[in-house]
């Protein structure tokens, strides 16, 4: 079933309560109206009874004065008769007005009126006439069967009106009492029901609205205090439930962005540290050869040396200045790598020749032993000779730098399947497994190596870039304390 919204539920519940209250008020109104109605009917019934009783008394006067006059001929009776006769139409009009809305009673009243009129015309008028001509005959006629029958009929008709009215009155009173009782009972039930509904409504509001809102506000205070891991139980009707769930989403999002910020902060700190280390490393890398260049230059300027020695010092200056130039070159190369601006000056050349040349250059002044294995035939590569020389030089200087003095370095060049393969094998300290994948990253220097052995951490990154832009591969295998093997593969052939 579709869940109603909070507003929907409140409207439904409030409507239910309102309807019950309306019912209570309506039933009370009905009870009051029907009681008043019953009262009005009751008072009218009394009036009808009074009017009927008055008619009874008038007709009784009519009868007794007619009989009295017939027997005695006293004008007092005649006067009484006239007076009673005069009152008859008014009394009947009053009764008919009172029972105008009651067809049966109206008919009875009219019947009774007709009976009285016929009593006057058929009984009283002839007796009065007979009395004027024959008083004796009149005396016997006044109480005869006809006169008595007429009088009895009139009494009976009026009695019927009285009885019916009394009966009606009793019925109406009973109905009014019933209505009142029913209204009171209905009102009471509705009152209890509405009280129960109001209580239920209150309990529901407390449970579905107040409690979740309270929990959420407490959680919001915790969030304000910096505890972003708080979550509120996702319960509550409609919009309140949505509010709680939105709150949870918000804290989750806050927590995520806080963690993201912390992570970025950490990265930034690491990058700052890295930059500091880099600057310090670079200045160290520059100062070492610079110390020789400055020192020997000063010596040559300030002192006299034999020509042989002078030349030797100049060679040292030259060598160290080249070292500085190579460091500067590494940085320039990295700049080129980053900008994608490294251009290759390709031409076919013999890799055997180049390897021999580089090996001689690096091992002529080294205490390391060189084991050079070169093929007899040329291995021709179409590429940038100076850049490939840079790669080989980097691998050879690493082999020397990271292995102890006197250790052997094997350099093996072979050709196989259209690929030239150059392996530089050292007996050095080896590269820890965790560092192997990263040695080709720029500025990355193995943790152990970095502590003692100088370097910019750029050589291998530049070497990889050069090799891959020639369509080749560079890789490393290493065993701790046994040594490392760097392998370069290049496509052969003068394309």
């Amino acid at each position: 079933m579709k869940r109603l919204s909070l507003v929907g539920r409140v409207v439904v519940l409030a409507s239910a309560v309102a309807m019950v209250v309306v019912l209570v008020v309506a039933s009370s109104l009905i009870a009051i109206v029907s009681l008043r109605h019953a009262e009005a009917k009751e008072s009218r019934a009394k009036d009808v009874t009074a009017a009927t009783l008055r008619l009874q008394s008038i007709t009784a006067d009519l009868e007794s004065s007619l009989r009295g006059f017939a027997i005695t001929g006293s004008p007092a009776f005649h006067n009484l008769l006239n007076s009673a006769q005069a009152q008859v139409p008014g009394a009947f009009r009053a009764l008919e007005t009172l029972v105008a809305d009651d067809r049966q009673q109206l008919r009875r009243a009219r019947d009774a009126s007709d009976l009285v009129n016929s009593y006057v015309t058929d009984v009283a008028t002839p007796i009065l006439f007979i009395r004027s001509v024959n008083p004796r005959a009149a005396r016997s006629q006044a109480a005869d069967a006809v006169e008595k029958e007429h009088a009895r009929e009139i009494r009976s008709a009026l009695n019927t009106i009285l009885m019916v009215e009394a009966d009606r009155s009793t019925g109406r009173a009973a109905h009014a009492r019933y209505l009142a009782r029913a209204a009171i009972a209905g009102g009471s039930v509705a009152l209890v029901l509405s009280a129960a509904l109001v209580l239920l409504f209150g309990a529901w509001v407390a449970r579905q609205v107040a409690a979740p809102v309270r929990r959420t506000s407490a959680a919001a205070a915790q969030v304000a205090a910096g505890h972003l891991d708080v979550r509120v139980e996702e319960r509550g009707a409609g919009e309140v439930g949505s509010l709680v769930s939105a709150f949870n989403s918000m804290t989750r999002a806050l927590e995520r962005s806080q963690q993201e910020l912390l992570k970025q902060n950490q990265l930034l700190r690491e990058s700052e540290e890295h930059k500091r280390d880099l600057i310090s490393m670079v200045s160290h890398e520059i100062r070492t050869p610079l110390a020789s260049v400055c020192g020997f230059t000063s010596l040559l300027l300030e002192r006299e040396f034999p020509r042989e020695e002078e030349r030797r010092y100049l060679e040292i200056i030259d060598q160290q200045a080249r070292r500085l130039a190579s460091i500067a070159g590494d940085f320039l190369d990295v700049k080129l790598l980053e900008g994608g601006g490294m251009t290759l000056d390709r031409a076919p050349f013999d890799l055997v020749d180049l390897t021999r040349e580089q090996a001689n250059l690096f091992f002529s002044h080294s205490s390391h032993m060189l084991d050079l294995e070169l093929p007899d035939n040329p291995v021709v590569v179409n590429g940038d000779r100076d850049r490939i020389a840079q790669v080989i030089g980097n691998l050879l200087s690493n082999a020397i730098k990271y292995s102890p003095p006197g250790a052997e370095v094997r350099v093996v060049l072979s050709q196989d399947d259209g690929r030239a393969r150059l392996a530089v094998v050292d007996e050095g300290m080896g590269i820890p497994p965790g560092d192997r994948a990263r040695v080709f990253e720029k500025f990355y220097r193995g943790s152990e190596a970095a502590s003692a052995i100088g370097g910019t951490g750029l050589g291998l990154a530049v070497a990889r870039e050069i090799v891959t832009s020639h369509g080749g591969d560079i890789d490393v295998e290493s065993e701790m304390s046994r040594g490392s093997t760097f392998t370069v593969e290049l496509p052969v052939g003068a394309v």
Partner: protein, 126 residues
């Protein structure tokens, strides 16, 4: 030439730097060279030196380790040591002095500065 020439041990893994120190100090001193910390300690325990020129960053035993071991050794405690390094942040200088260096010489250095520093320390300890 004086009858007794002070003996100096030059410890650095860079051959040109060692040569620079040796040539700068010239004939007034007798210089021995080693390129690592372990060999330096071996030489120091075998022979008497009037001064040690010590590089910090070397493969294997570092200059700082050599210095600490010297200062813990009764026989070597008083041998003057000049630490020379291309690492020269205030922390680098402080850690060298804390380890027991007498002087700190930042690379690159002026040759007359090296000469006067060595002569000063040698004459003081003599």
């Amino acid at each position: 030439m004086s009858p007794h020439r002070p003996k100096i041990l030059v410890v650095d893994d860079e051959p040109p730097l060692r040569e620079l120190v040796v040539v700068t100090l010239g004939d007034a001193f007798v210089c021995d060279e080693v390129d690592n910390g372990d060999e330096a300690l071996a030489r120091l325990s075998a022979d008497h030196y009037d001064l040690v020129m010590l590089d910090v960053m070397m493969p294997g035993t570092s200059g700082t380790d050599v210095l600490r071991q010297m200062r813990a050794d009764d026989g070597l405690r008083d041998v003057p040591v000049i630490v020379m390094s291309a690492w020269q942040s205030p922390q680098d200088v402080a850690s060298a002095l804390e380890a027991g260096a007498d002087r700190f010489l930042a690379k690159p250095f002026r040759i007359d500065e090296l000469g006067s520093m060595v002569r000063g320390l040698v004459s003081r300890s003599a």
